[in-house]
């Protein structure tokens, strides 16, 4: 999988200024806001849906909602946080509508290489294969994946996750617990001498 760096976008002050102009009805500024943020919005949509087409649909839908409700954006949180919440909500709606359970694409970037003999524990964070984490996330059921992505990758609060996913805070905590446990099992399997990798 190829990666584009997220930090190529505008700085926070420039983005805030553009958002204010867009809010006042300047369509060019709104276009600039989209250009500055769509990579991050797509990244979250992709992490939640694990499918390129779905991620594109969710991103488009999210910007449509942003366009419709920009007047209501009060700036209590940063624009990015607001955008992420909309993306999360759109992804949740999209996945529910599609009634997805587990999603495996033929796209080889999502295929988990189970024969990989390397031990991830020996690797440092910098050299860790990002694809392996992405694959581990893809292996999770969407309802667990959504919570762990929003909490541990995007630093949402339990309250915000509960609101955007339409579940209780207690449910987000339970799902987060399960998701972390599963990820730990996949990414850091226990090695048993003379046998296959086992998890604790």
């Amino acid at each position: 999988m190829t990666f584009a760096r997220a930090d190529e976008s505008l700085n926070m002050e420039d983005l805030t200024r553009l958002v204010l102009l867009a809010k006042a009805g300047d369509s060019e500024s709104f276009e600039d806001v989209v250009k500055a943020t769509y990579l991050d919005a797509y990244a979250l949509a992709y992490r939640l849906t694990q499918n390129i087409d779905d991620a594109c649909d969710v991103t488009q839908e999210a910007y449509f909602r942003v366009y419709k409700s920009l007047k209501n954006f009060r700036g209590d949180s940063s624009f990015s946080t607001w955008l992420y919440r909309i993306v999360a909500n759109c992804a949740s709606t999209h996945l529910t509508r599609k009634g997805k359970r587990r999603h495996y694409e033929l796209d080889e970037q999502l295929v988990v290489d189970r024969d990989d003999d390397s031990n991830p524990e020996e690797k440092t964070a910098n050299s860790f294969e990002w694809d392996r984490i992405a694959d581990a996330l893809a292996e999770l059921p969407p309802r667990l994946r959504a919570v762990v992505v929003l909490k541990d990758v995007y630093d949402f609060s339990h309250k915000a996750i509960a609101k955007e996913l339409g579940i209780t805070e207690a449910a987000t905590k339970v799902r987060l617990h399960r998701a972390r446990k599963k990820l730990r099992e996949v990414l850091f399997p226990l090695r048993i001498r003379g046998g296959d990798d086992k998890t604790v």
């Binding site: 190829t2 989209v34 250009k35 990244a43 594109c56 630093d155 987060l176 972390r180």
Partner: protein, 123 residues
């Protein structure tokens, strides 16, 4: 000790980002048990990786930006048309009301004058 390890390991996924480690007996166990400490390290490593994952942005299809902007342009046009229709709705409704009222008045006057003529003929 093993039973306590099992109990604590079950809690670790939720305790990893909780600095208090919940109960006191859990934190004291974690200070002394190397196996549970090792397990905690794995969860911390997992959280670190997930945090860093945010910086790794998967490249979207090249046409995505154009599709988003095209979709928004269409939405803008639709919204402009809607607001234009909304604005012209008021004079349009006033026009219809005036027309209906005029026709009604005309019919009323016509009916009334025809009635008067009949009365005159009878008279």
């Amino acid at each position: 000790m093993i039973k306590r390890c099992e109990y604590i390991r079950k809690l670790l996924p939720s305790l990893v980002d909780n600095p208090d480690f919940g109960e006191k007996r859990v934190s004291s166990h974690l200070q002394t048990c190397l196996t549970c400490q090792a397990e905690m390290v794995k969860y911390r490593k997992l959280l670190k990786l997930l945090t860093e994952l945010r910086k790794q942005v998967p490249s979207p299809p090249s046409e995505l930006l154009i599709e988003i902007l095209d979709g928004l342009e269409e939405a803008t046009k639709r919204s402009a048309l809607k607001s234009l229709l909304g604005r012209s709705r008021v004079p349009y409704l006033i026009g219809i009301t005036v027309a209906v009222a005029s026709v009604g008045t005309f019919l009323l006057v016509a009916t009334h004058s025809r009635g008067n003529r009949r009365i005159n003929l009878i008279g």
